[in-house]
């Protein structure tokens, strides 16, 4: 009997509502004090293609998914055995082979499926008459003849049936269902509860439902946890940081963040603009940033490819933003729109022509996203440059418990500003502080004149905003002088390049170390894993498993990608006995970055680029292999 360690999986065609039941189940578990890690895999398609949702539940903190599940709910036959019968090149082989020994399979009894021919005699099969149950639930309110209209309730039927297996209290789930259908829709909520209960009872009567080996019990003391999706946390970080203007163009998997913000724009006086394309998104954001508003945008690879000229524009004009959350997905080109990849690191580091400063950061989980996105707005204004926060499909759509969401660095810092004709900001900087003994105005140090691109000692010129008397300035995408007028002169070009590029050293010094990198685990490990971004939780979970086997492994998590903490990373890695990188891309983009900055060559690169995130099991296997000195190979998930 395995208690409180379970993965529940539901699969069906896109549009069949599997999200709804998976999220109800996740919430019911989270509210009862259990920890949840849930993730969805879906096709870029509106209706019909196979999608599935995994909900992993545990007493312990979990930050990744497992290869296998204990209970499978199949709304269609494809979920059981794949799409080989209607595709020349199958995209998957179903999930039957992913169910743990002795696990349960709940499926629609209308599916022509013969458990005996499945080759899994160890599993317990529960055919459930989904439509009959829906009809019965409707009959109780005199709507029996409308069953087909309520077909989407199949997912709730599947959920109800599952609860009977893992012996989870039905009422906890019913409560969540009711809370999701409020007001006018409460009647539909009741219908769903009724259908779930009928399914629950149906399976309870089934003899083999007793003594099911995987059970779930509510935690003894429910904690005040939240259960959040990644894009929600990103959006809330933006709100918390005072972002007032968000632009976007619809693109998977970035859109959800903007839609979430738009839904709440009235409550927070934040304006969300849907643009005609991503070129428009980034440039509207740059325009608004120069006006003095905290601005942001969100996109994915193909949109980012359009935005790049705007990033160079923001950087040369020293715009105080935008903050751009880049949700990576499978590339190149349109690639795999709804699938996972960490393929845009090098692209985000070198997005446009010329050398220019910008900040690239890659938080590893939702709490780090919250902090880094919040901090990004401070950095944008203080250092007057665009910020890219690297996220990805997995971090966007993961649905997981967070024990406590808080900001370690919660101060709002708007940087140096010229706030009016009183000259305070410029006086504070002092024209004589300039490296050249002048601020670039050509009129001597005593002349008090606001210059948007004044040549100050540290390269930061107090920023003004249109509308402010005495703060007049010009902005140009050309190289410019302190006024902001075009120049092609040698002296001014050099001064401006040094001014702009020099800001990166300030950034490096100012960003707290724990927002730059982290070394998890023992200092004297036999194996050092180098990784970044959303693989963090998976690697930590895997190391926990390997540690229990007595293996000494540590993990260098790189978080700030530009400016890169080269010295610290170099120091750590030079002490490492054996280094492997783990990345969800083809080439090992971080590994190359490390070499570029430290001269340390990482030869052992464990890469995955099948469009799915690493599972805990995959990382355990790959690291155990590396630990034993095995040959390093790419990781592929779904092999029959």
């Amino acid at each position: 009997m395995q208690k409180n360690r379970l993965t529940w999986m539901i699969g069906g065609p896109q549009g069949s509502g599997i999200n709804a039941s998976a999220e109800v189940f996740a919430k019911a578990c989270s509210r009862a004090g259990l920890r949840v890690y849930a993730n969805i895999e879906y096709h870029s398609n509106i209706m019909g293609k196979h999608s599935f949702y995994r909900v992993r539940v545990d007493d312990e903190d979990i930050r990744s998914y497992r290869d296998t599940a204990d209970i499978l709910v199949a709304l269609d036959d494809e979920t059981l055995t794949g799409d080989g019968h209607h595709r020349r090149w199958p995209t998957h082989f179903g999930h039957l082979h992913e169910i743990n020994e002795g696990g349960g399979v709940i499926y629609d009894s209308e599916i022509e499926f013969q458990p005996k021919e499945s080759g899994r005699a160890d599993l317990r099969f529960y055919p459930v008459p989904f439509m009959e149950i829906i009809k019965k639930a409707l009959e109780e309110v005199g709507k029996g003849e409308q069953a087909r209209r309520y077909e989407v309730m199949k997912n709730t039927v599947g959920l109800g049936a599952s609860l009977a297996l893992c012996d989870y209290p039905f009422d906890l789930v019913a409560e969540v269902i009711r809370s999701q259908f409020k007001g006018k829709r409460s009647e539909v909520g009741e219908l769903n509860v009724r259908a779930a209960r009928l399914a629950f009872e149906h399976v309870k009567q089934h003899g083999s439902a007793k003594d099911f080996p995987y059970t779930l019990k509510p935690g003894s003391e429910p904690k005040a946890r939240i259960l959040a999706k990644g894009y929600e946390i990103a959006a809330i970080a933006k709100l918390k940081a005072g972002c007032s203007f968000q632009t976007y163009y619809p693109i998977s998997p970035a859109t959800d963040e903007s839609v979430f913000l738009e839904r709440h724009q009235r409550d927070y006086n934040l304006l969300v603009v849907q643009c005609e394309d991503e070129i428009s998104s980034i440039n509207m954001a740059v325009g608004a940033a120069h006006m003095g508003v905290r601005v942001a945008t969100a996109t994915s690879g193909p949109g980012f490819a359009l935005m790049v000229e705007g990033i160079g524009f923001a950087s040369i004009t020293e715009a105080p933003g935008p903050v751009l959350v880049l949700y990576q997905r499978g590339g190149p080109s349109t690639g795999m729109p709804t699938r996972q990849e960490q393929g845009d690191l090098q692209f985000a580091l070198h997005p446009a022509q010329g050398d220019f400063p910008h900040i690239v950061t890659a938080p590893g989980d939702l709490r780090e996203s919250y902090q880094d996105i919040f901090s990004a707005f401070n950095w944008a204004e203080r250092y007057q440059m665009p910020i890219i926060v690297l996220s990805d499909k997995k971090l966007a759509s993961v649905y997981t418990t967070i024990d406590k969401l808080e900001l370690k660095y919660d101060r709002i810092d708007r940087g140096e500003r010229f706030t009016g004709s009183e000259w305070t900001a410029l006086d504070a900087k002092g024209p004589n502080d300039s490296a050249n003994g002048h601020n670039g105005n050509g009129k001597g140090a005593d002349v008090k004149e606001y210059l948007r691109y004044a040549l100050t000692k540290d390269g930061i010129s107090p920023r003004s905003r249109p509308g402010i008397p005495g703060g007049r300035f010009w902005v140009t995408s050309d190289e410019h002088d302190p006024d902001g007028h075009i120049t092609e002169g040698v002296e001014m070009r050099m001064a401006m390049m040094h001014k702009r590029m020099g800001k990166l050293a300030l950034v490096q010094k100012a960003i707290p170390q724990d927002q730059q990198y982290a070394l998890h685990g023992p200092a004297d490990a036999e194996l050092t894993v180098v990784a970044w971004g959303s693989t963090k939780g998976t690697i930590l979970d895997a190391i926990r498993v390997l540690e229990a086997q007595g293996k000494k492994i540590n993990f260098l998590q790189c978080r700030l990608m530009k400016p890169f903490p080269a010295e610290a990373v170099g120091t750590i890695l030079r002490k490492a006995k054996h280094i492997v990188s783990m990345e969800e891309n083809y080439s090992g983009q971080l590994a190359s970055l490390v070499t570029e900055h430290t001269g340390i060559l990482i030869k052992d690169r464990i890469n995955k680029y099948d469009g799915r995130p690493f599972s805990e099991d995959e990382v355990v296997r790959a690291l155990a292999n590396a630990y034993a000195g095995g040959k390093i190979e790419p990781v592929v998930t779904h092999v029959r």
């Binding site: 509207m284 325009g287 006006m291 075009i486």
Partner: protein
Amino acid sequence: MSVNTPVKLTIKDYKSELHNDWCAGCGDFGILTSIQMALAQLQLDPDKVAVFSGIGCSGKTPHYINAYGFHTLHGRVLTVATGARLANTKQTVLALGGDGDGYGIGAGYFVGAGRRNVDFAYLVHNNNVYGLTKGQASPTLAKGKKTKSMPEQSIQDGINPVAMAIASGYTFIARAYALEPKYTAGIIARAIEHRGAALVDVLQTCPTYNDLYTKEWYEGADLPEKRSRLYKLEDQGFDGKVKDPTDKQEIIAKKSAAVARSYEDEPIPIGVYYEIDLPTYEDEVFRRIPDLKETPLVEQNAFERDVNPLLEAMR
């Protein structure tokens, strides 16, 4: 529209100190002067004006104007201007750029801006060539035409900016001529005063590269009997203003009349082709987020937000 300042502003108040590097005789001078005249005519506080431009000779215009100036990217001027305007709805926004900038590389944004009807005036310096890159055909050069630096005739047709603006939803559409600054200034002033997206297509000479549509051509010096190749719409009693914006039939009639006039090529009509008073994008934003009406985004205090209700909903 910003508040008038007590001291009377003159055209000099809108001139920056920067040395100008346009070719002698460039039509851009006429447009620059027209803008400065229009700003003086409206007595706009230079601090409350922001001028945005694209890339090309015309892109340098903001540097010569004493107001907040943004010399942006090729084709993207309207996107930057839109973002700026939405961030601070108290700022008067003037956008400008070349015909290649606005009708070629920026055509998508030209359409998008019309659909939104954000309150700004957009001046297009329309000289039929890409001047700064030495005279290639621009999107307004007609098929079969060849200016002096083109190796061959253009084999693609020119677009009709007025018709494109009508189709995109601009609520003020006019055409002017760079070498008639007084008249152009009047049109620009009306475009700035108009609430909504206003397009002024300014016909402009390029003395260096456009040897087809020169000052003399516009004056009709080559005609048997010299007469201008331009006429003013109002001189023929044309009135493009929609009296009742709720009257769909009137809108269709006015739009059709404007499009019909826009295809006349000899003489070319200048003046206001179309004008309608419709809710702007800002009006729609204020309906959604009423607080922004009095206090633009840039003046909002966004730093004391309580996000707890959002987090509570996640329990």
